[in-house]
Subunit: 204 residues, 2 copies
DNA sequence: AGCCCAAGTCAACGCTCACTTACTCACGAA
DNA sequence: TTCGTGAGTAAGTGAGCGTTGACTTGGGCT
């Protein structure tokens, strides 16, 4: 009723609701009016906290990316794992977003186009960490003679692209009534292929 | 000057200009007014030919998909090629779109989200043919004992996803001032990895 | 007590959107 | 010659958009 009912963090609420709506309907598909209604406030209240709709969107993206300490999570992995194990852990991490944070994947799917200025942030903060990690791990193993002398960057970029595409396009696939594929099946099927193709000596 | 200056196919012109604009700016980012201006006609003229903006968009998608006889193109390949050669040809075909028909890739990138009803058409008409082809080729080779007993559908889906992602995200990458990767380098680097991982006997 | 200010509200503004209406005109067939 | 029709136009329509300005309210500081 009153104008300032509680000092609860309204700004955080707006950011949260905006995240849900932007993820579900995209930037152009989400009017400020709807965000406001979802928060139980007026549009003007939103502009009290955020300069513009674009700034709010960028904040949503930045906040979403910051929620995951990807570098830290990746660095915690064992240094002495085999290639397959390493790739498996990365793929499991990416695919786990489908359950732990589907909004992140939706936002990424919406931002595949170059036009979106926030796309750069998502690529930089989410994709690149994975790629850099794999790149480094591959380089180390190539130098150690465990992995064939492939281009580590290209390999990492394509590997991450494959897993990301798999995670992002789930929605479209089940819209087509195609068989839904489980993450575990993808990993069990594809990681050995990649690892076998990369390793210096054929496994078994 | 006159109302009907020429009987040249105005409908085709509208479809063509709409394709350019939708590809460049997406559905929501392309007002009918702009399409009309680009064609040198009024909005009403467009509605004379297309019931609604959505119908026009769907027609754009359908027309774009129909421009490529993907099934035919794939079927023309040699049946006795090795796995690596087969995958290479498919990847080359997909990556060639970046030069022969970049609009197709842009439209696909815009339609990764499930909301877009046209996304289904693009998946069905563009992605699926590639996947089904690889799936069939893999199945044949698995039965012949040339390829290890992987899941042909999952493998094909992920392979196509990898190549598509590579083709679609080129725009974002060069916006980040990252090194631009050439299609040939991707193929030279990745096809042997995949093939080596798939083939029954390790290659050399 | 008095006052400031963050955080709201309401009501609009100016603009753009997809789409419509009423009308015009060239042109080919009867 | 007349007339119907397809293809176009100018000029809207109401709805919805992002954004703003003037005003209100209530908690915390002096």
């Amino acid at each position: 009723m009153s104008a300032a009912p509680k000092v609860t963090n309204r700004k955080a609420l707006i950011l949260s609701e905006a995240t849900h709506l932007f993820a579900a309907n995209g930037f152009n598909g989400t009017p400020v009016r709807i965000i406001a209604r979802q928060c139980g406030v007026t549009e003007a209240a939103i502009y009290r906290h955020y300069d513009s709709k674009e700034h709010l969107y960028e904040e949503v993206i930045r906040n979403k990316a910051a929620q995951h300490d990807i570098d830290g999570q990746l660095a915690a992995q064992g240094q002495d794992a085999g290639v397959e194990e390493m790739l498996t852990q990365v793929a499991e991490y990416i695919l786990s977003f489908a359950k732990t944070d589907p909004e992140l994947l939706q936002l990424m799917a919406n931002s595949t186009r170059g036009n979106d200025p926030a796309a750069a942030v998502l690529f930089q903060e989410v994709r690149l960490p994975f790629i850099r990690f794999i790149q480094a791990e591959l380089t180390r193993r190539i130098d150690a003679g465990q992995v064939r002398p492939v281009d580590p960057f290209i390999t990492a970029r394509c590997f991450v692209g494959m897993v990301m595409d798999c995670a992002m396009s789930i929605g479209v696939w089940q819209m087509l009534n195609e068989t839904t594929i489980k993450s575990r099946d993808v990993i069990c099927n594809n990681m050995p292929i990649f690892a076998r193709g990369l390793e210096m000596r054929p496994v078994s």
